[in-house]
Symmetry: C2
Subunit: 404 residues, 2 copies
């Protein structure tokens, strides 16, 4: 490594291009290579960086970036289906690898990630920005201080009206929602709540049961708003993915996590986080915290007050307006990965986490297909969750080994 | 029937005594007989009514009330285990019978209620007060007006910090939570949401999957607050019932209902109702309504504003302060039953509803015991849910037959 990290960005769709400015803002890091299989997207990405004063090389084939031999770290922001094979190629080349979030299509691809890490020793990180959300980090901070007592129950979800994306046939989500039925996008809720439950470090998911509603939301929307859209025709095959998929995950310690994938009906956004312990509760939707013996009967202390007392160190004195993207979460997660590459240490969301949380998708599809039958959850750590393992040593660490 | 309805009240524990004033306030109804197997409770109930100017006869054996031959209707407010045998005896005697809510211990007792109704023709009602809650009725009113579009998803629950009841060894809930693991009290959430989903009239529950957390809440509470309580001892057997039981119910129309039984951890009260359709959503915890094309992006219209526009007729011009008990719901449900007896018509929550919603408890226990395995839900109507059936003709009706 020279004076700065040499970064590559693969995938320049709306999310990839949107993140260029955020990644560019990371200190001592330069985006030296960008890639997309579509020429127009590639040029758009290059132009964004040119306007910021950078002159990256552009590639249509990501393998040519590996061939350069000078890349320190790569951000893979392609569609959900291609993340894994691209990540694996970079890991084999010894390049610190990060992937945007998605769900797996098979347990096999999750295992292949794990195997590749264990063979190559190349750290891999899943870029789950919501782990660095202000509310999620305040909850983590309060939990680590013992304020919730023993946490036995969590709720979460991705409750986001994405009907305009789902019906856009050029959007990856359209294709996926049309063909698959299950929780296709579990990590925004599950990963932050899983960190609170010490998943893969003293705890693990042991089973999952999922059910889905029918899919009525998008067709109803199209019939009212885009009656000429092919899927507005009631004779057309409809989306496979139910408007809402609800899953219950059971942990080795007995705790439960309930997750919703809720993206095809009109509603304000929420990740609907709920953390309940023997001595307190935090609820995103109730917008407050209640601690036993601290707050009055039936009192929710508003989150705005909670932040003042319990903001995670990462959010104390942090001005998210300085870093665009989802209120500051994007910067934190992108820098968390850069910091791991910079210090040549373990990232805060590692390959075992990536395999575990992505697996929720394929397991939920299986459970939905079997009428809600619980599915056994693989232990991607193969027993290492029962032992102390090295922690991410940077300020971005989300874990503790005090659970053993 | 004479100038007034002649009512009996069986069960004079805290709930029974608490309801005497409410039942007494119903027009053209007189409580002429009260019963409890415990003499001190019986005397307490009689005194409450004496103070209100009534002089009921008191009984230690409810069968003697049946022997009187002059009772028009009976409110059964005993513990959860004895409701059913008492109800069945009154139904066999041709007396309009209502039971306070609880869960079933077996499918057999649910079937016996149904069989008794079908053999005797005596109407039976479950006194689910939350069906008459202001929010629940506003949701029903909006749904019937089509404002939510097609409803595909609901959430609900009984989220109520009852640790002080659960650890009180004289309280029925202590015994039940100590021995059973599942959703022991499902109807406050499930029945109002089920009415919105047209359960037993054009729809039915087809399966249920449940999981439970461990039980840590009560012991943690006792160790901090009542260290001399026998159950504060960590060597003591603990409660069987998990602190939270979460269930997903699948409907014949594909819709889902997610329910929590959440009574052993500190938190403010909520029934956590959520109604999601293709054109709108109501959320109790987000305290608002969002209608597609009506409200701005990300806007929740506060429930207080929603009530002004969409209060159910029962709540328009209704002053709940005039009738004690859970903000007015108790009066409405008690009068709903009296109105059925008065008009000799079907009650709004009938024997099929009673059997269906009580069955959630025993089915959730089975599912929890089997690791979340979905359980088939019996059709207590034996097919009549697919046909139009007579509606409750009074203002308290909660159903529609327009779903066929």
């Amino acid at each position: 490594m020279g004076d700065y990290l040499r970064a590559a960005v693969i995938g320049l769709g709306s999310r990839g291009c949107g993140l260029l400015t955020t990644i560019h803002s990371i200190h001592d890091l330069k985006i030296v290579a960008v890639c997309d299989i579509m020429e127009d997207r590639l040029q758009k990405g290059i132009k964004i960086l040119n306007d910021l004063g950078d002159t990256p090389d552009g590639y249509l084939d990501y393998r040519r970036i590996i061939d350069r031999g000078d890349i320190d770290l790569v951000y893979v922001i392609t569609n959900w289906i291609t993340h894994w094979e691209i990540c694996i190629d970079f890991m084999k080349a010894g390049i610190y690898t990060a992937a945007e979030v998605c769900g797996a299509t098979s347990l096999d691809e999750c295992w292949e990630l794990v195997h590749t890490y264990e063979r190559t020793g190349t750290p891999m990180m899943l870029l789950e920005n919501c782990c660095y959300g202000r509310t999620e980090l305040a909850a983590l901070n309060m939990l680590r201080q013992g304020l919730f007592g023993r946490v036995v129950y969590t709720e979460c979800g991705y409750c986001h009206d994405l009907r305009s994306h789902i019906c856009d046939m050029t959007h990856a989500r359209c294709n996926q929602n049309f063909m698959r039925n299950g929780d296709l996008y579990p990590t925004h809720g599950a990963l932050p709540m899983g960190k609170l439950l010490n998943i893969n470090r003293g705890n693990r998911f042991v089973s999952i049961a999922s059910m889905s509603t029918p899919a009525y939301g998008v067709q109803d929307y199209l019939q009212r708003n885009q009656p000429d859209h092919p899927l507005a025709d009631a004779r057309c095959k409809q989306y496979a993915c139910g408007d809402v998929t609800t899953s219950i995950l059971k942990c080795a310690g007995g705790e439960l996590m309930m997750i919703r994938h809720n993206i095809a009906l009109p509603r304000p956004y929420s990740r609907a986080n709920l953390v309940q312990g023997t001595q307190g509760v935090l609820s995103e939707d109730c917008k407050g915290v209640h601690l036993d013996g601290v707050h009055k009967h039936e009192e929710w202390e508003p989150l705005e007050e909670v932040y003042k007392k319990y903001d995670h160190p990462l959010w104390q004195n942090y001005d998210p307006s300085a870093n665009d993207g989802h209120g500051g979460m994007d910067y934190l997660v992108m820098d968390a990965f850069a910091e791991a590459a910079r210090t040549k240490t373990l990232p805060p969301i590692d390959v075992y986490d990536a395999a575990t949380y992505m697996a929720i998708t394929t397991l939920s599809e299986d459970s939905v297909a079997m009428g809600g039958m619980p599915q056994a959850f693989p232990d991607f750590t193969r027993g290492k969750w029962t032992m102390k393992r090295p922690l991410c040593p940077t300020k971005y660490n989300l874990d503790t080994d005090e659970v053993f």
